[in-house]
Every structure is written in C-alpha cells, then in structure tokens.
C-alpha cells in the first residue's frame, strides 16, 4: 500500500471501531485527543487492522507512542507490513 492507501485503510478501520465516519484523516489528527479513542479502543483498532489490512501486531511490544496520531499509526502500519513483505 502507498501512503494514501494506508491512511484510507486506517480511516475505514476507525469508522468500524468508532461506529461513525471519520471525515478528517489528516496525519496530525490525534487518536486520543481528537478522535476520543482510549487505550482499549486503540487496541480494538489494531485488531480491525489485523483483519482488514493484514497487519500482524506483537502484543508483547506495543508502544503507545505509535498511536498518537493518524500519521504515527500509518508509520506503524507501513513498518509492520514492510517487515512482512
């Protein structure tokens, strides 16, 4: 996936977890402060990403800094998928 595709995929997964569409998918949008995710719903988002884009997380080594913004999450997704290629 290229970057816009990654961000779009995150947007679809966010909509599934939040149960509403997310219209602003700017990379500086903050998951906790702007979209009101919490530490649990972020994990649920990762589960949806695993299902939808083939992400495979390591539950033993999660760094919440990766989930600060849509951009940092996109970096995490891209890194994770690159490792699997």
């Amino acid at each position: 996936m290229n970057r816009p595709e990654t961000v779009e995929a995150i947007g679809k997964c966010l909509a599934e977890v939040l149960k509403h569409e997310v219209t602003d998918l700017g990379e500086d949008v903050r998951l906790f402060d702007d979209l009101h995710l919490d530490s649990t719903s972020v994990l649920e988002l990762l589960m949806v990403l695993e299902d939808n884009v083939g992400l495979e997380i390591d539950p033993e080594n999660l760094d919440m800094d990766d989930f600060r913004t849509i951009g940092s999450l996109a970096d995490y997704v891209d890194r994770n998928l690159a490792l699997r290629d």
Partner: protein, 330 residues
C-alpha cells in the same frame, strides 16, 4: 516466633472438565469479532472452564472435600471462610458459608463469608484466618478458606476490555504453625476512587487503568518490606489471571524478568474470581516447581479497587510431605 505466623497446611484446586474457547464465549456475550480477538491476541486469553449445569456448592466442595478428608480430626477446623467476589452468590436466606460447612461435615466450624475486596478476597481470607487462630491461641486449630464462583450471567462473566471470567475453585487449610508454607508478609490497599467496580464511569476506568501498575507494584513492595525481603529474593510471583497485557505492564513497573511471573494459566483458565493465586500455586506444585526454601509472592487485584500481595516461604518441599500435598483435579 515461627509458631505465631500464619501457615498454609494444605491446598487443593478444581476446575470443571468442560472447556470453552474464549472467542466463542466472547461471541455469546455479544462482543464484536475485534473485541473478542482483543481478549485473545492482546490479553492472552484462550480457553476457560465452565459447567453451567454444575451447582455452586458442587464446584466449591470438590477441592474442599479433598482437604477436609486429609485432616485427621475434623474438629480442628474451627473456621470456614468463603471468600467471594460477587456479593450475592446465593438466593436471599441461604448463607453459602454455613451451607458449605454443613456439606463438608463441619457443623461446629464457625462459617462466614468474606467479600468487599473483589477478587483479592481470597488472600484477605487467609490473613483473617491467621488473625482469628492467633486470637484463639490453639496451635492445633485450623481454618478452611474456600474460593470459587459461578460465572452465571454476562454481568458476572465480563469485565469490559479486561477479563472474561472462568469457573474454578480452591480450598486452603490455614494454621498458625507447623505447616509447609509460612506467610511472611501481607499488604492490602483499597482505593475508594474506584468503588463503583464494573459500574465505574469511563473516566474512572481510564484512571484505574493508568494507576493500576504503579499501585499494584507499591502493594507488592509493601508486602515484600513486611517480609524483610525484596524482588531479587523471590522464586516466583504467583498472580491472579486477569490477563497477560495488564501483567506485562506490572512487570515493566516492577522491573523484573517476565519469567519471574507465572502467567501460563491465563490461557488455560482465564480469570476465576478469588481462585487464581491458589489455582496457580497448585499447578506449580503439580509441576514440581514449589521448592523447599523457595519464596513466593501471591498477588491479586479486586475491582473496587483492592490490591493485595502475600509473601510465603516454602519451609519444606510439598511433594515430600504428605500433609503439605497439594492436589488439583483439573
């Protein structure tokens, strides 16, 4: 003096034969696929035991009978303490502790329940048993601590985003001297900010989650200090089976190696109310991992929120001492 310390004389645990996949249980509870997978992938749950047709008292008496049958004189058992998480586990008018004592053939034992500390209540019951026996002063007297509950409804079964409860039970015979395990320290703290338990506000849930590792670590350190020891002298930490991810955070807070904390029963049994530390102790015993001279820390957290930790020393190797034998029918 050793004779005045609380001692653990015998221990047995039981879990129903019927085993369920936690993903199926999550679906039955109405959770989404991603919420169920979160329990499996992140929280480390896999299977749990349950038997919807088994009566509460059959669940409780299975390990308790094993222990009672090994006591030569049943009149030595002066107290029966049933520690439970859910405050109302039987219909009004039926006192479960008294009923358990009757079923076990202990009509003269003073029987009562201990609640209000959530899943930390089992360790509180061991501490209370020791205090009662010391106050009585009879070195032969014993108390039987019984734990175990039915996950009988969604409310009883699910702690949102944290745990799915399984069914198991345990019985622990407590004395004040002469047992194979000696209680060296016990610490407990209740944080009333979280007293609404499963009905906490979203903000309180967040605050509880954020303070949990540091607050539990502090109580663990307090119990270690009372036992005049530290983390470096522990053979193992024997925790409650709430979930793996919470324990990874506590492990990071404590700064210990993951291998020190026994987490293997989380995917086997999930969280079984007050039973977990006792069940895990029995599993370690069956695996030959309770060594004479070993120092262990039992710990549990109850919604409400109560943090508890207890340091025990194995004075003798349980496998070589019949009185100290721990059996599980798992």
């Amino acid at each position: 003096m050793l004779a005045q310390l609380t001692t653990l004389h015998d221990l047995a645990a039981y879990a129903p034969q019927e085993s369920a996949d936690v993903l199926d249980v999550a679906a039955d509870l109405g959770l989404s696929r991603s919420q169920g997978r979160l329990f499996h992938r992140v929280h480390g749950l896999d299977r749990l035991r349950q038997d919807p047709d088994q009566h509460l008292f059959d669940l409780l008496c299975a390990p308790a009978r094993t222990v009672v049958e090994r006591v030569a004189d049943h009149e030595d058992i002066r107290y029966l303490i049933y520690a439970h998480t859910i405050q109302q586990v039987t219909p009004a008018g039926l006192d479960p502790a008294t009923r358990i004592a009757e079923l076990l053939g202990l009509p003269d034992a003073e029987a009562f329940s201990l609640t209000q500390q959530g899943c930390a209540g089992g360790l509180a019951a061991v501490d209370a048993a020791g205090e009662l026996l010391r106050a009585d002063g009879d070195p032969a007297a014993k108390a039987l601590v019984v734990t175990g509950e039915k996950a009988f409804s969604k409310l009883a079964r699910l702690i949102d985003n944290t745990a799915i409860m399984g069914e198991a039970s345990a019985a622990c015979l407590v004395g004040i001297g002469g047992g194979p395990a000696v209680v060296r320290g016990y610490a407990v703290r209740t944080d009333g900010r979280f007293s609404h338990g499963i009905r906490m506000t979203p903000q309180a849930v967040r605050d509880f989650g954020e303070s949990y590792p540091a607050d539990l670590a502090a109580v663990i350190q307090e119990a270690l200090a009372e036992a005049a020891t530290d983390l470096s002298e522990l053979t193992a930490v024997i925790p409650h089976n709430v979930n793996r991810s919470s324990w990874l955070r506590v492990i990071k807070e404590l700064g210990v190696d993951k291998q020190l904390v026994y987490l293997d029963n989380i995917p086997r049994y999930s969280h079984c109310f007050c039973v977990d530390p006792f069940l895990n102790l029995v599993t370690l015993r069956e695996q030959g991992r309770l060594a004479a001279g070993g120092r262990y820390l039992l710990t549990a957290v109850g919604l409400g929120a109560t943090y508890a930790a207890m340091v025990i020393d194995m004075v003798v190797e349980p496998a070589t001492n019949e009185e100290a034998s721990c059996q599980a029918r798992q």
